[in-house]
C-alpha cells in the first residue's frame, strides 16, 4: 500500500504584469535583459479583493471536476500570505468547496519548500491510515507584500494557486524525502512588519514589505541544492540516470541554469520555465508538474524528482513515480 498523486491543477489570477508594463513605468529598467537572464516575461497578480485562499479554491474547483469531492477527507493548505491571521484558511476552504464536515483541515506556513512538505504530510496521513484522499493546496499572493517601487521583487514574484489530490494506492508512488532547515537564514527573506512584538501595528498608509537579500539566497542555494539532489537520489537507491525529469523550485532561470551546469546534469531532463508565471513560491513545482504532464514530458510510470528550497531557510526533495 502507499500514496499516489492522482491529479494536479493550478490557477493564475487574471491580471498580468508584463516586463513591458514595468519598463513603461521605469524606462531605465531593462525588460529584455530580465527576460533573457531571469527568464520571466510576465507574472500574474491577484486582484485587491482576491486572496491566496481564493486562488487555491479556484485551482481546486478545476481539479474537482474530475473527482468526487465527497471522498476528500483532509485539506492541507500551504500559504505565507493568508487572508486572515485567523481562522485557518483551510477551514474556510472546506466550506467554499462544499466538502463534507467530517474532514481534517489545516494550514501550514512554508514558501518554496512548501509543496514537498505538503506531499510528505499527505503521504504520512495516508500511510498511517488517518486519511484516504488528501487535498493539498498551495496559494500565494506575495505581490501584496511588495512595495510599488521595489522593481526587483516585482519582476520576480507572481501569484498563483494550486491543487493536488493524493490518494491511497496499491503501490507506493511517493518515495523517500530529504529535508533541511537553517533558521539563520530567516533574515534574508522576510516580511518584518506587521509583527506580534509591535502589536501587529502598521503606520497609516504603511503596508507589509518583503525584504530579500538576493545574493545571500543565491549563496545558500548553490551551497545546499547539489547535495540535496544527490542525497535524495541515494536515499531512494537511485542515480540521476534513473530520473526521467527533475523539477526544482522555479526561483529564477539564472539560478536554475547555474545549478544544472554546476551539478553537471543533463539540462534536457530539467524543468526551467517561469517565462509566463514568474516565481510563484510554493506553486512553482505543482505548476511545472501539471505543465510537464500536459505536454507529455512526463508520462505514467516516469520517475520524477522534485526539490523545493527558499524562505526559512527551508529545503526538501522527494522522488515520485508518476
Amino acid at each position: 500500500m502507499g500514496a499516489r498523486i492522482l491529479g494536479v491543477e493550478y490557477y493564475l489570477p487574471d491580471k498580468i504584469l508584463t516586463n513591458q508594463d514595468i519598463e513603461n513605468q521605469y524606462p531605465d529598467w531593462n525588460a529584455s535583459k530580465v527576460e533573457k537572464k531571469v527568464g520571466i516575461r510576465q507574472r500574474h497578480i491577484a486582484a485587491n479583493d482576491e486572496s491566496s485562499l481564493d486562488l487555491a479554491v479556484k485551482a481546486a474547483e478545476r481539479l474537482l471536476i474530475d473527482f468526487d469531492r465527497k471522498v476528500i477527507d483532509f485539506i492541507i493548505f500551504c500559504t505565507q500570505s493568508p487572508e486572515y491571521l485567523l481562522p485557518t484558511s483551510a477551514c474556510i476552504i472546506q466550506d467554499k468547496l462544499g466538502l463534507k464536515k467530517s474532514i481534517g483541515a489545516l494550514d501550514f506556513n512554508l514558501g518554496c519548500s512548501g509543496y514537498i512538505y505538503g506531499l510528505a504530510l499527505a503521504k504520512g496521513l495516508i500511510n498511517s491510515g488517518i486519511s484516504q484522499n488528501v487535498l493539498l493546496l498551495t496559494g500565494e499572493t506575495y505581490s501584496k507584500f511588495i512595495a510599488k517601487e521595489d522593481i526587483g521583487n516585482r519582476s520576480i514574484f507572481g501569484d498563483a494557486g494550486s491543487a493536488t489530490i493524493i490518494s491511497r494506492s496499491d503501490e507506493e508512488h511517493i518515495g523517500e524525502f530529504v529535508f533541511g532547515t537553517d533558521g539563520k537564514g530567516a533574515e534574508n527573506l522576510i516580511v518584518k512588519k506587521p509583527t506580534a512584538k509591535q502589536g501587529y501595528a502598521l503606520h497609516e498608509n504603511e503596508h507589509p514589505v518583503i525584504y530579500m537579500n538576493g545574493p545571500e539566497i543565491f549563496n545558500f542555494t548553490i551551497e545546499i541544492i547539489p547535495s540535496l539532489i544527490s542525497e535524495t537520489l541515494s536515499k531512494n537507491n537511485r542515480c540521476f540516470n534513473d530520473i526521467s525529469y527533475l523539477i526544482m523550485h522555479q526561483a529564477n532561470k539564472y539560478m536554475l541554469d547555474f545549478l544544472i551546469s554546476n551539478m553537471g546534469i543533463d539540462p534536457g531532463k530539467c524543468h526551467v520555465d517561469l517565462l509566463n508565471y514568474g516565481n510563484t513560491v510554493s506553486n512553482t513545482i505543482p505548476i511545472a508538474l501539471k505543465d510537464a504532464i500536459d505536454l507529455k514530458i512526463i508520462t505514467i510510470d516516469d520517475i520524477v524528482q522534485l526539490a523545493g528550497f527558499g524562505v526559512g531557510y527551508s529545503w526538501g526533495s522527494v522522488i515520485l513515480k508518476i
Binding site: V34, K37, N213, G214, F218, N219, I222, Y254, M255, N262
Partner: protein, 75 residues
Amino acid sequence: MKETFLSLIAECIEREANDINETDRFRDYEEWDSLAVLSLIAMIKQNFDIIIPRKDFDSLYTIEELYNYIQGQKK
C-alpha cells in the same frame, strides 16, 4: 593580476574587457546591477569553488580586492 580574471569579470558585468582595470571599483560601473552580483557569485563558485558571504563581499570594493580575497580563500 591574471588577464583571465579581468575577462571573467568583464563577462559577468557585460562590459568591454579592455575597459576594466584592477583598481576599478566594480560597483561604480554603469552596467552594475543586481544581476551582475549573481553573475559574480556564480562565476566565483564555478571557477574557484568559493562562496563569498555577503558581509565579506560588501567589504570588497575594487577588482583587485576581490581577486586577493579569492586567492586568500583558495582551497
